[in-house]
């Protein structure tokens, strides 16, 4: 975000609103982003309406129908315990979307202030935070989540915390970089020099954080995608959601032993993960293009 903000100090509210509107007008023309938004909206709706639209109880066991192939009654077939796959996939949307949101809330809630303070004040707190971030980022991808689960124990709530913690360094690093470049810009320096009561807090909240919003939004969209993938991975490894929970990764973990007998039980939960993640990736790409075509993440 290198453009000079219009009318600093006059009507920041109006400026921000018009900027958001401008971004929306840009975004509306972006077919890729809209497709992503559509996919996410469908899954969101599916999750919210799960009790209404699911044809069966996702936990209803029926051994007579174990591993039954897709039929008219259960179009996704049944799993090893004869549970309806379609209903389980529908209920799975709830867990995956909640995990995605929780991960981003933890990541933004702790990572953004950490990055802003670290970048704004510099000095040894910055050095300390950044080395901490270095160490966390030294664990590639799902590994840090696995380490945290190894400490907290296996289970869905633990996995949620783990995935949230994993995204903290990503935000901290991103916002720190943004803060550093914003701090050096004239309008922030002006605010520091001219406005008598421009306390640090005021500058951070009025001038710095609003201007990091664009990258944080784009990053969050992509972060939801990676959180959903990590959660499913933990579930699949047996470290996240535990059976009989209707979580996509855990469902795959149970069904993989029956790959030869019941390929349908493996196919659909995976497709659901892929579609959701694809939706967030498309949306992220779309928002990025709408906010700033030159922005690279």
């Amino acid at each position: 975000m290198s453009e000079r903000p219009l009318g600093v100090g006059r009507r920041p509210q109006a400026v921000r609103a018009s900027r958001a509107r401008l971004a929306w007008l840009q975004f509306r023309r972006n077919r890729v982003g809209l497709l992503g938004l559509g996919i996410i909206a469908s899954f969101l709706l599916m999750g919210m309406l799960a009790p209404v639209i699911a044809p069966f109880d996702p936990y209803d066991v029926d051994f007579d129908k174990s591993l039954e192939k897709p039929t008219r009654g259960s179009p996704f077939g049944r799993d090893e315990l004869g549970r309806d796959m379609l209903s389980r996939v529908i209920y799975g949307a709830r867990i995956s979307l909640v995990i995605g949101v929780i991960a981003v809330v933890i990541g933004v809630g702790l990572g953004v202030p950490l990055g802003a303070l670290s970048g704004y004040y510099g000095g040894w707190p910055d050095l300390l935070t950044q080395r901490g971030v270095d160490v966390m980022l030294a664990f590639p991808g799902v590994l840090l989540a696995i380490v945290i689960v190894a400490v907290l124990g296996v289970g869905l709530p633990q996995a949620m915390i783990a995935i949230g913690v994993v995204s903290i360094p990503v935000y901290a690093r991103l916002v720190r970089g943004q803060t550093l470049s914003l701090r050096a810009q004239e309008f922030v320096e002006d605010a520091r020099a001219m406005v008598a009561n421009a306390s640090d807090r005021r500058i951070i909240f009025k001038h710095i954080l609003p201007n990091t919003l664009a990258v944080v939004i784009v990053q969050s969209t992509l972060q939801v995608a990676s959180a959903i993938l990590t959660a499913a991975a933990l579930g699949f490894l047996g470290l996240g959601a535990q059976p009989p929970t209707a979580e996509w990764g855990a469902m795959l973990s149970g069904a993989r032993q029956y790959l030869r007998l019941a390929p349908h039980a493996v196919t659909f939960p995976g497709l659901a993960i892929m579609m959701t993640v694809l939706g967030f990736n498309l949306l992220g790409d779309g928002i990025r293009d709408a906010l700033d075509p030159k922005m690279r993440l």
């Binding site: 080395r131 901490g132 270095d134 160490v135 030294a138 664990f139 590639p140 991808g141 799902v142 590994l143 696995i146 380490v147 689960v149 190894a150 400490v151 907290l152 124990g153 296996v154 995608a225 993938l229 499913a232 991975a233 699949f236 490894l237 047996g238 470290l239 990764g249 795959l252 993989r256 790959l259 030869r260 390929p263 493996v266 196919t267 939960p269 995976g270 993960i273 892929m274 579609m275 993640v277 694809l278 990736n281 498309l282 790409d285």
Partner: protein, 306 residues
Amino acid sequence: MWAYIAKRLLLAVPVVIGVAFIVFAMVRLIPGDPAMVIAGQAATPEYIAAIREDLGLDRPIVVQFAVYFKNLTTGDLGRSIRSKAPVTEELWARLPNTFRLASASMLVAVTVGVTAGIVSAIRPYSLLDAAVMVAALTGLSMPIFWSGLMMILVFSVILGWFPAVGTGTLAHLVLPSVTLGMASAAIIARMTRSSMLEVLRTDYIRTARAKGQVERIIIGRHAFRNALIPVITVIGLQTGTLLSGAVLTESVFAWPGVGRLLVEGILTRDYPVVQGSVLVVALVFVFVNLAVDVFYAVVDPRIHYT
């Protein structure tokens, strides 16, 4: 440049110490009594006490830390609770398999990714470009363990071309390495395309075209070489994706690598094994990143490091 490399090496030191510290803290941070958790619910008090003593958990924390670091410097990672074998021994047995898988995947990722990226960039916004980019985004969105299962389903169960699980022959390596390489190939393809497009817009490419240079040479010699730097960075970053992806791929294909050792370790609460595997994977990642940065400084003298 040398100052930069020295600084980069120096910065790696606190990271390595930090990683070692986290691995040390892992067991100590387990809520409640770690020895009881590790021993399991049905354990006798004697067994719990034995584990506590074995892991040194009965000593003051400062002493534990000192002993841990002293052992680390001599390459002693303790003994597995289940197999009683030294953890280093188990790691040595598994590491070659993980490296084999990761290198084969890297080969797949770079070959497929760079080729797809160039093909896309030559005819931007064409149907082919759109198809490649949709494929890349799909590849990026697929959970690796699921694409692995789908690979087994199609190429092993239905077509019978490749073995589904195990190791030994080259045929065993095909499905796991393609599975693991695909996600990285997608990222490399996206970066190659955007970097190529940027270079193809520059004046010197226009000059090359104006003087009637063959398109193949323009793409291959002039454009690609200059587009390579960001691509190399992304390839370097993919090591992390490959290492963490290996944990999943190894579980799907019953591939006896460090990733599977780690997951089995957690599921059986064999913490020395978990600690050793985590330490090794993280350290490999740190050193590969270091190598990429140093390589970067060597190949591109234009970049100013401060």
